[in-house]
């Protein structure tokens, strides 16, 4: 019975392609599915990521030559998918609060300390320069930027752990941030009420993406695919004359891209790739990055509170880590715990979206440091 024999040798159990790591990873995939579905942790990305994790650990050839997910992953490596996600993100983002209060850019910059703190720590832990940079960008809390930079720096093997850590911590923002925020602020600071933001005209909203693209890409040209697409999406939205493009970019196109990106990035977490010390280090570094970013945002917020004579609530500083819009909601929540009549959401949206630009700038600086353009 040759045929039966052959059949038996093809099963995942018998063909030797799976070791105990694969089984652990299958369990991890189940855990992530549980977190995504039951807990609502970034499900849009964690469901596809976890399923890619499941499939590659049962059937490794799905990521080898001519494997289904390897074709999708090629589009990650070429930076096409992260750029197109940013197109959709741009088409959904309201930069109005940032235009009304450009000081928010400072808080968006401060939160990037998380990235560079993690970078230093990663170097100390023994990662080489490019790996350290790719890992530390997790602290930016922008999934597409993390995947984009890991691709540009040639760190494809780290892409799985980085993406999983980035999206996991992004969903844990409501747990990670509040203790740090409370530790670093006084009750009085948390109660600071901010003036209502001025209304922003349509013309300003249209000029914003054009100006930001021009300025950022002039100074750090290698961010052009990422920042350019983010701002093009926003221009689609704000111009008001290409509603169909804004709708397509932020709906059909973006979700198609999410499916392709999620499954293929998830499939970079084969057992051997994921269950090692580096992943553990990445988990630690990611948490440090988030914590340091939160803290530095809040601390600069305190400084600005002082300098402005108490007009700025330091709690909006933590929103600078991005994780749009969750971090802004955390600022709102912690603020309203101190004083239920305190509405910080709109004010926190400014640093929140500034943090997206700040992380893209940080990614551009890393690319410049490593001579990639």
């Amino acid at each position: 019975m040759d045929v039966l024999n052959n059949l038996l040798h093809q099963t995942a159990f018998a063909n030797g392609s799976l070791d105990w790591r694969s089984y652990v990873m299958i369990l991890v995939a189940f855990v992530f599915l549980y977190l995504a579905i039951k807990k609502g942790y970034e499900p849009l990305l964690l469901v596809p990521i976890a399923f890619g994790m499941l499939l590659v650990n049962i059937y490794p050839p799905i990521m080898e030559k001519n494997g289904l997910l390897s074709f999708f992953f090629q589009l990650d490596e070429w930076s096409i998918l992260p750029s197109l996600i940013f197109l959709g993100v741009g088409a959904m983002t309201d930069f109005g609060p940032l235009i009304a209060n450009p000081k928010s850019f400072l808080l968006g910059a401060a939160a990037q300390f998380g990235i560079f703190g993690a970078y230093l720590l990663a170097i100390i832990m023994g990662f080489n320069g490019k790996a350290a940079a790719a890992i530390s960008i997790i602290g930016g809390a922008d999934g597409p930027t993390s995947i984009f930079l890991a691709g540009k720096l040639g760190q494809v093997d780290l892409m799985g752990p980085i993406a999983v850590a980035a999206y996991s911590y992004m969903s844990l923002v409501p747990i990670i941030q509040p203790p740090i925020m409370k530790l670093l602020t006084t009750e009085k600071e948390r109660k600071v009420k901010m003036e209502q933001l001025r209304p922003v005209s349509k013309l300003e909203r249209i000029l914003f993406p054009i100006v930001v693209t021009t300025v950022v890409c002039m100074i750090l040209p290698s961010t052009a695919p990422l920042v350019g697409m983010l701002m093009l999406g926003n221009l689609f939205k704000e111009s008001g004359v290409v509603g169909q493009l804004a709708e397509t970019a932020s709906n059909a196109l973006m979700y198609i891209v999410v499916i392709l990106l999620g499954t293929s990035v998830g499939a970079k977490t084969s057992g051997a790739n994921f269950l090692n010390v580096d992943t553990l280090k990445i988990v630690v570094l990611g948490l440090c990055a988030f914590a340091v970013g939160t803290a530095s945002g809040v601390l600069l917020g305190k400084v600005m509170c002082k300098l402005s004579g108490g007009k700025i609530n330091p709690l909006i500083g933590s929103a600078g880590v991005s994780a749009v819009p969750m971090a802004a909601r955390v600022s709102q929540k912690v603020g309203s715990e101190a004083d239920p009549t305190n509405f910080l959401l709109m004010h926190a949206m400014g640093p929140n979206v500034a943090g997206v630009i700040g992380t893209a700038v940080a990614a551009g600086v890393f690319m410049a440091i490593f001579g990639i353009f």
Partner: protein, 123 residues
């Protein structure tokens, strides 16, 4: 995209002092870029003022024009096309100027096609 020849740090290992320098420089750049954008964007608040001023001028001009053009059969449609035409020709002129500049740079004799602009202006 990776130009290895130009790459300043092709050696994969980064020492801790190097990393410290990188961190300081990088954070400085991040702040510099974001502060620069913030300054540019903070100029946006003057836009509403400018627009108001301009729109007042325009509405005055339009009023004058409307009075000038007061022939009963055209009164409804006239203002819009006029405005359109004016702006169009301004823009065409801008493009043309740029292209001309390019040509002069290259030392090409400018041909007689200047009529493009005129043919749009007329009507």
């Amino acid at each position: 995209m990776t130009n290895v020849a130009n790459a300043p740090m092709t050696s994969d290992v980064t020492t801790i002092p190097q990393a410290l320098v990188n961190t300081v420089v990088a954070m400085a750049v991040v702040f510099a870029v974001l502060i620069f954008i913030a300054l540019v964007i903070s100029l946006f608040k003057f836009i509403p003022m400018l627009m108001q001023k301009k729109s007042m001028e325009i509405s005055n001009a339009a009023k004058a024009e409307r009075e000038k053009n007061k022939k009963p059969e055209e009164s409804v449609e006239a203002p819009a096309p006029v405005a359109t035409q004016t702006d169009d020709s301004q823009i065409v002129a801008v493009i043309m100027a740029a292209v001309y500049a390019a040509m002069e740079e290259e030392g090409t004799p400018i041909p007689a096609e200047g009529l493009v602009i005129r043919s749009i202006k007329k009507r």
